[in-house]
Structure formats: structure tokens, C-alpha cells
């Protein structure tokens, strides 16, 4: 019992003015109060202990949270950096996809230029020889002979001009493909664009695989007129589709050496207010399970290192987002694939 309560108890016990019954009652109350006080003291001590424990736990939690916050901050920084890296990689991949298709073409183009050069070199040498012959005839007074030779010189010069322009066209196509798109829509002859890229793709593949041969068929609607497109971008789409078509017929040819004529057809037509460029091949077709994924980035059925898996995905974006058009595919496994680029006029 606390000393204060003990003093009060003693005073009550020794008091003569209080009856024994009242003393007993008062001492009972004091005893009760003492019990309560002990209980309160005990509870207070427990609360104090709890408070201390809580305080320690809280401190630990705060420290823990601070640590976690730092970790999250670091993770956030890393994620931001990764995102930036991914964006840069994506841009690089788009560029490398472009350069990969250009690389495929370069060898073909380099060889393709030799053909017109063959004519330019040789017809110019012929012209020189003919002019010597013409001088000889003129000296002999054979005006008619000289005139005939002059006509031959004229024809040779026309051939030089024709094949010089052809070489020029080949180089321009290559430059156009490698140049960064200026994203400007300009009136474009889709037939010329399709034909140019068909030739480039064909020669590009021939340069890589000498045994490759395919029948090229074209069916251009001469009445489609000019269409406002970003020509480099639509050229890339056509190139991708044609390259894929050639790949499909080559793969099929590996399996069917006899009685199989690899054929790739490029056609254009105008239906209502739409211009449709169709690239069809009688190659391997696309399996149903792959069909849903062909426009997804990085999806490819080609062996590692042979395809970026970005060709069709980029083509899809160019046609749909870039030109408000549609890119559709029809296929039957083992028989054919037909891609349609549908562009609004």
C-alpha cells in the first residue's frame, strides 16, 4: 500500500470519533482504492512498455520505408533509363529494318547497273568506230554510205541515252529508299513505284541466290492516276510484300523441284474511291496459327538472322496509321498468299 494511504488508514484506525463499523467501512474503501491504484500502476507500466515497443517498431518501419523508397527510386530511374534505351533501340530497329532491306537490294542494284553500263560503254565505242567509218566514206565521196552510217550512229546514241537513263533510274530508286522519309504526301504514280520496287526486289534476291528464278507477272490498271502518298514509305511496304512473296516461292521451290513454277504477281486497280495494290505469290502460304501474329512486331517465321520480324508490322503502321488505309491478307497454306494494300483516294 502506498505510504499516503497507509497514513490515512492509521489515522482512521486510531481515531476515537469514528465508530468501529464506520472505520471498517472506510478501511475497506481505502483497501479497494489501493488495489485500483496498483492495477492502474500496472496498466500504466504496460502501456509505457507497449509505447516503447511501438516506438521502436515505428522507427524501424520508418527506416524500412525510407530504404524501400530509395530502392523504388533507384528502380524508377533504371526503368526510365530502360524505357529510353528501348525507345532508342526501337528507332534503331526501324532503321536497321530499312537498311536490311536496302542491303538486300544493294548487291542486286550494283549488278543491275552493269547491264545498262554494258550498253553505254559498247554503244559509245561503236559510235566512235562508226564515225571513223563515216569519215572514210565521206572522203571517198560516198554520201549515201555516210548517211546510212550516220543513222547507225544516231541509233547507237539513242541506246546510250536510253540505258544511261536506266542506270540513273536504278541509282535514284536506291537513294530514294535509303533517304529518310520527309513524311510529305506527294502525288505518286503507284504503278511506276510498284514496278520499280518489283525489279529491285527481284535483282536483290538474284544477287543473293543465283539459282533463284521466278516468273514475274504484272497487271497495272493504267487508269488509277496519281495518288497522294509518302512514296518512300509506300515503296517500303511494296518492297516488303514483294520480298516476302519471293521468299515464300523460294521456300516452296526447295520442296518441289519438279512441276512448280514460282510466280509473283503485282497488280493495281481502282475500286470506288480506293486504290488497291495486290502482291500475290503461289508460295508456301501462311499457316493459320501464324496468321494472327504476322503484323505483330518481331514476329518472323524466318530462321534467326534472316528476318527482323518488323517488315509487316512497319508496313501495317505505314498503311493504316500513315495513310488511313488497310493491309489485308488472304492465304491458303501450301498454295498462295495475297496481300492487298488498300489506300483511300
Amino acid at each position: 500500500m502506498s505510504p499516503q494511504l497507509q497514513t490515512i488508514s492509521d489515522l482512521i484506525k486510531n481515531s476515537s470519533g469514528i465508530s468501529d463499523a464506520e472505520k471498517e467501512s472506510l478501511l475497506k474503501v481505502i483497501k479497494e482504492a489501493d488495489k485500483n491504484q496498483a492495477m492502474i500502476q500496472f496498466k500504466l507500466e504496460r502501456i509505457e512498455k507497449d509505447r516503447n515497443t511501438l516506438s521502436v517498431m515505428l522507427q524501424e518501419s520508418i527506416e524500412d520505408l525510407q530504404k524501400k523508397s530509395l530502392v523504388i527510386e533507384d528502380a524508377n530511374k533504371a526503368l526510365t533509363q530502360t524505357l529510353e534505351e528501348l525507345r532508342a533501340t526501337q528507332a534503331q530497329l526501324i532503321q536497321s529494318e530499312k537498311m536490311a532491306s536496302l542491303g538486300e537490294l544493294t548487291a542486286g542494284i550494283a549488278h543491275e547497273i552493269q547491264n545498262p553500263l554494258n550498253f553505254v560503254n559498247n554503244f559509245s565505242e561503236v559510235s566512235n568506230e562508226l564515225l571513223d567509218e563515216m569519215t572514210e566514206q565521206l572522203e571517198k565521196g560516198n554520201a549515201n554510205e555516210a548517211k546510212a552510217i550516220a543513222n547507225e550512229v544516231k541509233m547507237s546514241l539513242e541506246k546510250i541515252n536510253l540505258h544511261g537513263k536506266r542506270a540513273d533510274g536504278i541509282v535514284k530508286s536506291m537513294l530514294q529508299h535509303s533517304r529518310t522519309s520527309n513524311n510529305k504526301k506527294e502525288p505518286t504514280d503507284i504503278n511506276v513505284l510498284a514496278d520499280e520496287y518489283l525489279r529491285l526486289a527481284y535483282h536483290g534476291l538474284r544477287a543473293k541466290d543465283k539459282s533463284f528464278n521466278a516468273a514475274l507477272k504484272t497487271d497495272y490498271d493504267e487508269n488509277i492516276g496519281l495518288l497522294k502518298v509518302i512514296s518512300q514509305d509506300i515503296g517500303r511496304v511494296i518492297l516488303n510484300l514483294i520480298t516476302n512473296a519471293f521468299y515464300a516461292v523460294m521456300e516452296k521451290k526447295k520442296l518441289h523441284t519438279q512441276d512448280y513454277e514460282p510466280t509473283v504477281t503485282v497488280s493495281t486497280k481502282k475500286i470506288d474511291n480506293k486504290i488497291i495494290v495486290e502482291v500475290t505469290d503461289n508460295g508456301t502460304g501462311i499457316p493459320q496459327k501464324a496468321l494472327d501474329k504476322i503484323f505483330q512486331p518481331f514476329f518472323t517465321t524466318k530462321p534467326t538472322g534472316q528476318g527482323t520480324g518488323l517488315g509487316l508490322s512497319l508496313s501495317y503502321d505505314i498503311v493504316t496509321k500513315g495513310h488511313g488505309g488497310e493491309l489485308k491478307v488472304e492465304t491458303k497454306e501450301g498454295e498462295y498468299t495475297a496481300f492487298s494494300v488498300i489506300l483511300p483516294v
Binding site: 550498253f119 559498247n122 561503236v126 538474284r206 543465283k210 539459282s211 516468273a215
Partner: protein, 124 residues
């Protein structure tokens, strides 16, 4: 000497007729032209042909010059015509394949006609 020239570039005919105009005029050489491997085989299938030398391009739509070379060397044995490949694709792979298939010579485009003439005279 009759020579069959096989090339899908049609101006090759005008070029050969110009460059060999003297030889053609003097009847030293006679040229026939085919614009594909298939056409060349058709021409050679005619037994009355007198071509002793074939000058063939390699890269042609349809049958390639190398396939044509293989056909000629397999099927036309009596008498075997000489086959000279003329190509813009003058890389080692093409050269080796042509030689393995029995090509008698291999020239690259742009063609040096003075060199070709020397080779033809040596055969003649």
C-alpha cells in the same frame, strides 16, 4: 561460225550486230539470238542448227544461264557446242558453278568486245 547469243536484254542483238558488223558483212560469223534459256533450248533442239558456240547470260527470268549450261552439257553431246558465260554477276560463286558445270569460258559485263573478239578468233 554460227554463234547463238542468249540474253533477256533485247538490245544485246543490236549491240552484237553493230560490234561484229564487219565479221557479219564478211560472212566470217553468223549470229542467232534467243531471249531466254527456254528459247535457246528450243533453238538447239532443232537438229539443223549449226551453232558451235553459245554465249549466254546467267541472270534471266525463267531458266537461268547456269541451268541452260547444265542442259546443254548433259543433252547436246554430239558435237558438244562450246558455251561461254557472259554475266553482270561475275562473282567467284557464279564463276565456280559455271566452271563445274562445264562452261568453256566466263566473261563479265560490261563486256570488252575486243577481248571477246580475240577469244572468238582463237576458236575460229
Amino acid at each position: 561460225m554460227k554463234i547463238l547469243v542468249v540474253d533477256d536484254e533485247k538490245d544485246v542483238q543490236v549491240l552484237f550486230e553493230q560490234r561484229f558488223r564487219k565479221e557479219i558483212r564478211n560472212k566470217e560469223m553468223e549470229f542467232a539470238f534467243a531471249y531466254s534459256g527456254e528459247d535457246a533450248l528450243k533453238y538447239l533442239g532443232d537438229l539443223s542448227h549449226e551453232a558451235v558456240l553459245i554465249l549466254s547470260d546467267i541472270n534471266m527470268p525463267g531458266m537461268s544461264g547456269l541451268e541452260l549450261l547444265r542442259h546443254i552439257k548433259e543433252k547436246h553431246k554430239e558435237p558438244p557446242p562450246l558455251v561461254m558465260m557472259i554475266t553482270a554477276y561475275g562473282d567467284a560463286d557464279n564463276y565456280n558453278t559455271a566452271m563445274k558445270l562445264g562452261a568453256d569460258d566466263f566473261l563479265t559485263k560490261p563486256l570488252e568486245f575486243s577481248l571477246l573478239k580475240e577469244k572468238l578468233k582463237a576458236i575460229h
